[in-house]
Structures are given as C-alpha cells and as structure tokens.
C-alpha cells in the first residue's frame, strides 16, 4: 500500500485497509498516545484511531501535542 505520510511517500507491506492504530505502530511512531492524526485533510478523534482505516493513495499527517506549563 502506497501512502503519503507527513509529505513523503511511504509504502506499507499490507494490501488490506490498515487502522490508524496499526499504521502508527507499523511506522514505529513513539509515544503514540500523544499524537494527533490527519487523514486526507480531516483531523481524527483519538477514539477513531481503531476504526478509521487507510487505503492505497491516502495522505496521512501526524504530529505530537505541543503544550506545556509553568
């Protein structure tokens, strides 16, 4: 499956739809609990990571929470 991840081509060795949860694992994203994901331009709710799937040609962006405090 060929995707665009954070602006770069990425190939996932899986021809079937893959959940966002599984995709982040396959991409070896660390501290996944702090990641926000955008799929084809739409920001996903964290509760949808298991149910939302990516397919060939999809565009995925992910980034970490940016926060802090005094």
């Amino acid at each position: 499956m060929n995707l665009t991840v954070n602006g770069k081509p990425a190939t996932i060795a899986d021809e079937n739809p893959v959940s966002i949860t599984d995709l982040l694992e396959k991409l070896q994203v660390e501290q996944r609990e702090y990641v926000t994901v955008e799929l084809n331009g739409d920001i996903l709710d964290r509760g949808d990571f298991e149910g939302a799937t990516v397919k060939d040609g999809d565009t995925v962006e992910f980034l970490y929470f940016m926060g802090g405090g005094r």
């Binding site: 602006g7 702090y34 940016m66 802090g68």
Partner: protein, 133 residues
C-alpha cells in the same frame, strides 16, 4: 546554538507581552539552525499556567513550512510569572523531535528574558541564542 533574527525575536516577545496574563505560544521555522519565519499560535488552554496548541493550526503551519522549504526550528511559549526555564510539564510534553524550545519569561514585564533549550528524553540542555540582523 540557534540563530534568530532580531525582528522575529522582537515579534515573539511582543506576542508574549500582548498575550499576558495568559501564556502565549508559537512556532518558528527555518533551515539548519537559522530561524526565518514566525507563526504565532492559539493557546487553546487560554491559561496563565499552561499552553496547548490548536492541532488544526499545527497542521497548517507544518504544511506551510514544508511548502516553503523550511522546517520547524523552535516551539516557543511564555511564562507570564515564572522564570525562563522548562517546567516539569514542559519537559514531559517536549515530544516533537529535533526542535528547540524557546521560553520567554515575563516575570519582570519590563525586561523579558528569552532562553532556548533542547529537551530530549527528559534531559534539558541550554542552547545559545545568536541574534542576527
């Protein structure tokens, strides 16, 4: 070491001061270790003690940086009433790799203090700021 143009550092400090008493936050882009662009962001926490950036704005900035051939160089935020040093929460939430963290202290509002850090896996390292013209 991080190079920040004087006008951008001034904008960061002005953004921090205009946001007072709330924490202000933003992103600086550039190439190498040189800052070239400034993106003030919304603090969705609207708090005097915390900040959290809006994910929608974050994605927009990342894409804008990519389109202009720049990378995220600095994540900045203000400390309205505490020193320019990373708090435990700052350290815990320093998750984005390969960026500098700039903190503007407004503890003395007439004399803001800006300091830069690298934070990796809980380890804080002070980074020299070179102000360029």
């Amino acid at each position: 070491m991080i190079e920040i143009p004087a006008d951008i550092l001034e904008k960061v400090i002005l953004h921090s001061q205009s946001g007072f008493p709330l924490e202000a936050c933003g992103i600086l882009g550039g190439t190498g270790n040189a800052v070239a662009s400034h993106y003030p962001m919304t603090n969705t926490d609207a708090s005097n003690e915390h900040f959290m950036m809006d994910p929608k704005e974050q994605f927009a900035v990342v894409k804008a940086l990519r389109a202009s051939g720049e990378e995220m160089q600095v994540i900045y935020h203000s400390h309205p009433e505490s020193p320019a040093r990373p708090s435990q929460e700052d350290i815990r939430l320093a998750l984005t790799p390969n960026v500098h963290h700039l903190i503007v202290s407004l503890q003395d509002r007439e004399n803001p203090v800006a300091k830069a850090f690298r934070i990796n896996a809980g380890v804080v390292e002070t980074v020299e700021i070179i102000i360029t013209v």
